[in-house]
Symmetry: C2
Amino acid sequence: MAASITLAVSTVIFALRPHPDTGHLALWLPLVRRIRSPHKGQWALPGGPLRADEDLAASAARNLRDTTALTPRYLEQLFAFGRPDRSDNRVAPENRTVSIVYWALVHADVASAGVESDNVHWFLAEDVPTLAFDHNQIIEYALWRLRNKMEYSRIATAFLGETFTLSELREVHEVVLERTLDPANFRRQIETSGDVIATDEFRMGGRHRPARLYRHNHSIELADNGPLTGR
Amino acid sequence: MAASITLAVSTVIFALRPHPDTGHLALWLPLVRRIRSPHKGQWALPGGPLRADEDLAASAARNLRDTTALTPRYLEQLFAFGRPDRSDNRVAPENRTVSIVYWALVHADVASAGVESDNVHWFLAEDVPTLAFDHNQIIEYALWRLRNKMEYSRIATAFLGETFTLSELREVHEVVLERTLDPANFRRQIETSGDVIATDEFRMGGRHRPARLYRHNHSIELADNGPLTGR
């Protein structure tokens, strides 16, 4: 078998935006309609072949820029998917593709203003259609990684703007982890963690009393990736 | 630039064997001497090009079998390393290699009986020479992952035989984490975790009183890899 192996980079991009029915925040991701075989017309993760002189993470950032006109707040390598049968070999048996997949978080307000067209569309993470290749499974794994990472790192702030209230930060956790958190416990845990810093500013909110704004503590990495931090 | 990209799989293989000076357990890994350019004659991680019809994990297991004549007790994808300048492009500028790296744990007693030759040699993890390509950095990252994983998963037992005493299990943790652990605390933590199961057998040890043997609880995965478990 003289098949050649194509190396592609794909990116799972998460943002929080309001749910169209409830108005509450929900997890969304953009997908791209395939314009060529195999799986022509089906939705898929943004991605494409790695360019000859391009770094892997740079290729993922390019996917993101091309799809959403955004730069990521957080970008991490997820996994390399390479089962020999993962592409539809009936159509092009000589074209095996190994995909190195990244996942990214972008800020909601900016994402809302992102590019949307006939061939790029944002879907609710809970309502993704049947995708090309093994991309449904890839998204399932990315969601699992996101939820795990949110428990033991500080990436929640990557979904938010420069400043945010503790209620907003708690809502991000609640949406991603799919469970409600006790406000007092959450406040205590965050305040002792040192992950966020209180500012002197407040958010004025209708009938509520003003809520203090916090910002991410930039002296702490969003996630601890050890010797690979910053790569 | 019309460079082609080669996809390779390499594997970092860890085992615990006695330190030649102290006799205490230490972390070892096998390396392979390169027999062709670039970096001919230098030590490197076992690995090679992905075969056209081969699964990624199967390729890693083949590296392991070819190098050590062993099957892994634990095998996990580590990271895809793909910086455009990571190969020595002066020698072969048209040959860029992206390496998908796995890491594996093998059982010490078996590893001791493994293949060793002019071109395969086991090194102490704390005493690895300057390797070809970016392989020193890859090992550094694999060590970081191993230490992290040992804190929140059950992989320590993969270094041991079918049955083991709690002292032996604690020694594995101490060697990998590079710190001493309180025996009573460790025993309490392990016993409440349910990760290991007490057998009715005992290890008789010279002047010491007999120590109960435990075995890994097979109903629990060695590490929680979510939707990718078993892949």
